[in-house]
């Protein structure tokens, strides 16, 4: 029973990790706290749902949703952040701008959906579970776990093993010096925002499927969870985002299973404060972002 709960927690945590990775990538490389990330996640769920409603196969819906949110995220950077960057020290202004973007997206979704909660058609994913080591695993859970492992691996490969990734880490370390070496920062922003949005959209469709409930305000709790993951794992740390995301998923699932309902948030946030007492910079935070750190 415990093993089953742990597995369920890991799967939920994997989605938290995907969500937080994108959030943390943009923060770690560009020091931009994009509070519209939850809204991008929500848009991803909607686009995935609409694609399915149009009769497209699920894999195509995933693809469309991810490309859409990737481009949306790039567009947000162009419209909301880029003009502010030119003015120099604009971290706070960008934070406020991202809240503005969040509100616009959420309200657009509210209109478009008439504030209704939408659902995927029944049977879009096979529900017949299979059993492994005595655990009951649904096909969707399996897909989520596999996708998360794949995405983390690809992201790590991109950052640490490709020339593009090296340029991303160069910008993260010192944008001006990188420019003098011939790195074109515009291309880096394009890549990081695209990847960040894509991961948010992917997480959105996965959550939409897992809970089969999609509405305009679904991004909010995930943004809050994303914050918890960020602080817990360490600001800017990608390893931290993965570990803390998984941990959060497990803690949440266990507290739902073994404690009275309503205690979940109390437990989650108490644990967060406890960790911060011991490690003020989070589990992996040494105030240095992973996106920069050289692999040895």
């Amino acid at each position: 029973m415990l093993a089953q709960q742990l597995f369920n927690g890991l799967v939920l945590g994997a989605v938290y990790a995907l969500f937080a990775l994108g959030f943390n990538l943009v923060f770690g490389v560009h020091k931009i706290m994009n509070l519209a990330h939850g809204a991008i996640f929500m848009v991803g769920a909607f686009v995935g749902l609409y694609s399915v409603t149009l009769g497209l196969p699920l894999w195509a819906a995933f693809l469309i949703a991810m490309v859409f949110t990737g481009l949306l995220s790039v567009m947000i950077d162009f419209v909301a952040f880029r003009p502010l960057r030119k003015t120099g020290d604009a971290e706070f202004a960008m934070l406020i701008a991202s809240i503005g973007v969040e509100m616009i997206l959420v309200n657009l979704a509210l209109r478009a959906s008439d504030a209704r909660t939408l659902r995927f058609p029944f049977g879009i994913v096979p529900v017949e579970p299979f059993f492994l080591f005595g655990m009951r695993i649904t096909p969707l859970q399996f897909v989520i776990a596999a996708v998360a492992v794949l995405c983390v691996t690809l992201l790590a490969f991109y950052l640490y093993r490709t020339s593009f990734g090296r340029q991303v880490r160069a910008v993260s370390s010192n944008e001006r010096a990188a420019m003098l070496l011939g790195v074109e920062p515009r291309m880096i922003y394009l890549q990081t925002f695209f990847i960040s949005g894509l991961l948010a959209g992917l997480a959105g469709v996965l959550i939409g499927l897992a809970f089969n409930s999609i509405n305009f305000s679904m991004g909010e709790p995930y943004l809050l969870r994303g914050f918890v993951v960020l602080i817990l794992g360490g600001l800017g740390s990608l390893r931290g985002a993965v570990v803390a995301g998984l941990a959060l998923g497990i803690i949440q699932t266990l507290s739902v299973a073994y404690f009275p309902t309503g205690l979940t948030d109390i437990i989650v946030y108490s644990l967060l404060f406890a960790v911060l007492l011991v490690r003020p910079n989070g589990l992996f935070g040494d105030a240095v972002s992973d996106a920069r750190v050289a692999r040895r």
């Binding site: 090296r166 160069a170 420019m179 003098l180 011939g182 074109e184 050289a294």
Partner: protein, 244 residues
């Protein structure tokens, strides 16, 4: 090779360069000296496209640079080794050198990784180390080595001796001399005027954003005002560096 004509630049309304004109020909080592805040770094950053100019011209091999982006200027072979080294401290020494190659664009390399390591053996010995863990002198060598990896046609150096022990300064300056003798064109910005004038062939003196002196390095070094303001001060400063 480089021709700057009546260049002006400002920071939010405050003028930092008042019509600076300067040339560097192929194969030369030209020194640019001046006190703190004279505008030396501003001039180099205008050339590199990091600071926009207000008016005037910067021609590199006949091509206008103003309005070009820093990355495209670097890819033309105009590379800056910035003040304070600005190495990518969280990347490894090896990765810093590899990133230097980005400026090659579609030009062919003039310095291989092996040659750079031969010039600065310490960069080979520490190639897997975090660049930020290098000493100041080693970081300066990395910054220069990284520049060489990008096949510079003209190397702009901003105060390479800044904060280094005298022995290391000797080492850096002798490398610069060797590079120049091997044919590399260099524009050297220095506060260490005495040393810069020793190794350069021509020099410019910048004061409050204006060129107040220029000519062959030995002539500039013999100028009375230069001696009083730059060499004299530095002699004092140098004597303060000596252990009591």
């Amino acid at each position: 090779m480089l021709k700057i004509d009546k260049l002006t630049a400002s920071y939010s309304g405050i003028t930092a360069l008042h019509g600076v004109s300067l040339t560097v020909s192929k194969g030369e080592m030209v020194a640019l000296i001046g006190a703190n805040g004279a505008g030396k770094s501003t001039l180099l950053n205008c050339i590199s496209g990091i600071v926009p100019s207000d008016s005037g011209q910067i021609l590199f091999n006949g091509q206008e640079l103003s309005g070009r982006r820093p990355a495209s200027i670097a890819r033309m072979g105009l590379l800056q080794v910035p003040e304070g080294r600005q190495i990518l401290s969280d990347l490894s020494v090896y990765e810093n050198l590899q990133l230097g190659q980005l400026a090659l664009g579609n030009r062919s390399p003039t310095w291989s990784h092996e040659q750079v390591v031969e010039l600065f053996p310490v960069l080979g010995a520490r190639q897997n180390q975090r660049a930020g863990s290098l000493s100041g002198g080693e970081q300066q060598m990395l910054a220069i080595g990284r520049g060489l990896m990008g096949a510079p046609e003209l190397l702009l150096l901003d105060e390479p001796s800044l904060g280094l022990a005298p022995k290391i300064v000797d080492q850096v300056f002798s490398v610069l001399t060797r590079l120049n003798e091997a044919g590399l064109t260099i524009l050297l910005v220095e506060q260490n005027a005495r040393r810069a004038l020793q190794i350069a062939s021509r020099a410019y003196v910048l004061e409050r954003g204006m060129v107040v002196h220029s000519g062959p390095a030995d002539v500039v070094a013999a100028d009375k005002k230069v001696v009083t303001y730059y060499l004299g001060n530095l002699a004092d400063a140098a004597s303060q560096d000596q252990p009591a």
